[in-house]
Symmetry: C2
Subunit: 633 residues, 2 copies
């Protein structure tokens, strides 16, 4: 069998003839990136064949020049002989996210107050009678007799893992026990029994994003976030967006694999948080709240997600029942009951219902609010006290670096801000973490394209000025480039954007803008009626409002109307972990939101096409002058 060696990892494996390099990498334990799930369309799994050769089924995604140098796509290459492969992917970009996502600017009044603290599971302390020889009572009977008085004779369920420890626990402090419990369907479920007074009440709030998973360790009694950790969702190599993930999860084995991947991400994060914060026992984590979009919720639960994208687009769960951590596979107290945020529809999920807790929606002011959560999908909620409507549009991954040739996420090595000289087009740029730039992220793209448009380097349709006036423009027959860095040859050709990239960006911003507009028109409103415009998502951290407006991504409203609320899904989970009032509100919001399917909404396609210009075909709507002034301030 051929021997495959991967550099720089120096990991190798034997591979059957005909095996793909993608599979060989997995076998060797080398992480490559497959955002398009191995379909050969994203080009992100590019590797260089250093010695030997592979059978590369070229699909035109790699330029002839690169191919000559030995570059291939791992997903489209088959092993025929011994080879040495140079892994060109960008490696672990983590770390940078932790800061970004822990940033929040949510109104203090929206958080649970001291009187609201009411987690799902709480403790009560009482004393159990001592054992008496021959009274016919087992330890369990003695416990239930004492518990009966406390829990007003509701039936009490004592899980096996608690019963297993009960005989010792009852005898440790002469029968004094603290009993962690939760009421459900008229039954008191015991979560844990410890001897003596209860220890600290700890919990975790989790946001399962398509791209990243954020976990917050919380001291519940003081409503304090002890620590937050953010990691990539380990599913990421199985597709960049939910549709690719669903396509991947086409059979039971794959559904199980996807569940295991996201579970491993979460459990690794929980384990790190426990380790970092005083070696907390898993058993002490007795409350968990989770929010995720509908697809991520189903994948976390291990449920076939395919019906989400098949007519009539029915998810398996809207409201999610309380399951125990043990059932779910979470490495906290196995009897902890896990609160999972309710979904509204196939593409408006628990991350949105959680996120709305960070807003003034339906708060009694009568104000019309608009909420957009821009991730891989864009989700939008519009409403006031009287109505709530939600929809999703597939913005595509452009804002997270997907579909952009030199695009990447907002992590180390990414250009996230820049200045374009309007006369020459030459750029000065800022790199996250300093050092050599490796690509450009969503906020960098907005910064760049806005200035290119102002300077006339691109026109309303995103086509470049190929007159030679701007030196960074490399005019090509198809797909001309604009170089941000110095132009270089070979694989590491510097950082640039192409006309295709710009086209992808325009499609993404058009999808979001036209979705907002369609929703407004649907109820006879305009942007001017919007009092508060909430922007959520990791994306919100970096976005420059005026530049986004100048491109027509955001409408030309007063800057004061825009409110960044960061990772509102995580913040909403945090609130739900702490407070019954917030959990109730979330359920009410989920019930009240009318799910709008844009694909069948009259007028959406027209709006979309009209938004495919910079900033828009309808320039009246964009008071360009005002915006430019704002930018010049």
């Amino acid at each position: 069998m051929p021997q495959i060696m991967f550099l720089p990892e120096k990991k190798s494996c034997k591979a059957e003839e005909g095996m793909s390099l993608q599979d060989a990498a997995e076998r060797a334990g080398v992480t490559l990136s497959f955002p398009c799930a191995g379909k050969g369309v994203c080009g992100k799994c590019i590797v260089k064949v250093e010695s030997g050769s592979v059978e590369f089924n070229d699909n035109g995604k790699i330029r002839a020049g690169l191919k000559k140098q030995g570059f291939v796509l791992a997903c489209r290459s088959k092993v025929r002989e011994d080879v040495v492969i140079l892994n060109s992917s960008l490696g672990d970009e983590r770390g940078q996210f932790a800061d970004a996502l822990s940033h929040m600017s949510v109104d203090e009044d929206l958080f649970p107050g001291p009187d609201d603290i009411e987690p799902l599971t709480s403790a009560v302390t009482f004393t159990v009678d001592p054992p008496v020889q021959g009274d016919g009572l087992g330890d369990r009977d003695r416990f239930l007799n004492a518990a009966g008085e406390i829990f007003k004779d509701l039936p009490v369920e004592l899980p096996l893992s608690v019963l297993q420890r009960l005989p010792d626990t009852l005898r440790e402090r002469d029968g004094e026990v603290s009993v962690w419990h939760i009421e459900k369907s008229g039954v008191t479920h015991i979560v844990d029994v410890e001897s003596g007074k209860p220890d600290r009440s700890l919990g975790v709030a989790i946001d399962i994003g398509t791209t990243t998973v954020a976990i917050r360790l919380v001291d519940i009694d003081t409503a304090r976030a002890i620590d937050t950790i953010t990691q990539y969702n380990a599913q990421i190599d199985r597709g960049a967006d939910v549709i690719s993930r669903i396509s991947y999860a086409k059979n039971q084995e794959r559904i199980h694999e996807m569940r295991s991947l996201v579970l491993s991400t979460i459990n690794k994060g929980i384990s790190e948080l426990r380790e970092k914060n005083g070696k907390i026992e898993a058993r002490s984590l007795r409350n968990v709240a989770i929010s995720a979009n509908t697809t991520m919720t189903q994948m976390f639960l291990g449920i076939n997600p395919n019906y989400i994208r098949l007519e009539p687009y029915t998810p398996a769960v809207m409201g999610v029942p309380l399951y125990t951590a043990g059932e779910l596979g979470l490495e906290v107290n196995p009897c902890a009951h896990v609160w999972i945020a309710p979904n509204v529809g196939s593409y408006v999920g628990g991350d949105i219902t959680a996120g709305l807790l960070c807003t003034d929606f339906a708060s009694g002011t009568g104000d019309v609010c608009l909420f957009i959560d821009i991730g891989t999908n864009g989700e939008i909620v519009l409403g006031n006290d009287d109505f709530l409507m939600g929809c999703a549009c597939s913005a595509g991954p452009a804002f997270e670096g997907g579909g952009i040739e030199r695009g990447m996420r907002a992590s180390a090595g990414a250009i996230d801000r820049l200045e374009v000289d309007p006369a020459t087009g030459k750029c000065r740029y800022f790199v996250i973490g300093g050092g050599e730039p490796r690509g450009i992220c969503g906020s960098g793209l907005i910064s760049l394209l806005s200035q290119m448009f102002e300077a006339g380097i691109i026109d309303q349709r995103g086509k470049m000025d190929k007159s030679g006036k701007f030196e960074p423009v490399l005019a090509l027959r198809k797909n001309s480039r604009f170089y941000i860095t110095e132009r270089r040859e070979g694989y590491d050709a510097g950082v640039y954007v192409t006309e295709n990239d710009i086209d992808n960006f325009i499609r993404a911003k058009a999808a979001i803008f036209s979705a907002c507009l369609t929703m407004l028109k649907n109820v006879g409103l305009s942007f001017d009626d919007v009092i508060k415009f909430y922007i959520a998502g990791g994306f919100g951290r970096y976005i420059e409002i005026e530049r986004a407006q100048s491109l027509g991504l955001l409408p030309p409203l007063d800057k004061e109307k825009f409110l960044y609320i960061g990772n509102s899904s995580l913040t909403g989970s945090f609130m739900s972990l702490l407070s019954a009032r917030h959990r109730k509100k979330k359920l009410e919001l989920a019930n009240r939101i009318t799910y709008v399917d844009l694909s069948v909404e009259a007028g959406y396609m027209d709006e979309y096409v009209a938004a495919m210009f910079i900033p828009h075909t309808n320039l009246d709507m964009f008071q360009r002058r005002t915006v430019l002034n704002a930018v010049c301030n």
Copy 2:
């Protein structure tokens, strides 16, 4: 490190210097027998050192002659150098048991009739409305809407593993589903959902004995036992009786180990039954009933059993709540709820409450009944319609071959019946499975001792006639022997009984007889008042009533009063699996039985001492003549 090779298995391992041969055998994967849990008192782990030598801490358990030949006890030998060990233990004795334990002679009328069939989990078939785009209902909502009508709006719990399959199941037969469910604490728990009509209702009834585990595969609709399998409890090498097992389970790790051992025995058995009977899916086994003594119940549940033997002798559980197979670790449908028979006290457990279902106890006839289940412990229940009393006495393992130098269980190679020539004392014997005898089992011992006593070879105290009149008697200064087979030299010295063996037997029979008598006297009754005398246990299969009476093990009642009911614990489990009426009756019986602790019962010790003669010090009670006549028939 020294290398240890075990023959005849040809398994070897490396062992640290100073490691015991017991641990080395475990490391090498060789099964030795340690009924006394490695205390060095039973001598059953005898092995021969074929080459090399070990450090043997001789405790006088092995005769000098054997020691000279290289025999040592594995539990008292430490590794110092490379050795080759010949494993002399008796190997797998299984197989023989299957027949013995499937034998039953329980009154047909006691079994559940066609109208009684009401397992814990049953199926109902209904149709779920098809999905409708935009109606805001997930698959779970549609299912719950339909289920609400069927289950009269009780709260419905849908376990995660069922929810995971629900989207596919709902779409397979246009929404027609069969729903397996159980009601508990006012909540309907869904066990399984399959599309279309329900498949066959299957279940398993299990008896977890200290020595053997019996499992019966049952077709519930027809109340038919499909197949029964009996295996040794894998805990057996951790102690022969419950007290040794409890001593062994002295910490969490050991408690976990004991649980794993019995679980592995059960799961192996279930897997074999599934395989043998048409490759049944584990998921199709949706009902389980288990009975076991109190210690075995706690060990199966993974609960610290030590408080059973510490004052005030309180078990963890009397009634056992319904746990799911998933929680318990049983490899059947993970959502199946498992019925575990209720315990009465520390030493009268669920095997007895199950066993009583096979009797006329409290059946309205007013008859006084006595029930004895003779295993490693002897459990006794006495009562009529008005009262029920239960107690346990530690008979010791003499009836199962323990504490008897050449004793063994009633399996291949055991002498189970014999004829003693009253003139010479010479024996003709029958060997289970034919071939060379390897030892003598409980029923063989009764047969032998009864005839030795009749012929005057032993006296009332069990001491042998050493006058030389009987050739098989080998008179020794201490512990004389009686040879059943030809006398031989060396390790394989033939089969014999010693005066110590006889003493152990007398203690065991005295314990049981005096326990019965104490119970009767306690309520002012005598043996003559007993109308039905039930004998349960694998033991009951082989026992010769008259011989047992002539030794004073059983009282001298009419033979017709004795009823063999075989493994009544398994039969009771089988009944409970099928019928709600029988489960209810079992709970009532458990509640009604007064647990009598013989150790604090006035008069018990006197009765015990009085019973330490053959047949008894009070000969009037034993109408010896009648019994002898019966034997001569």
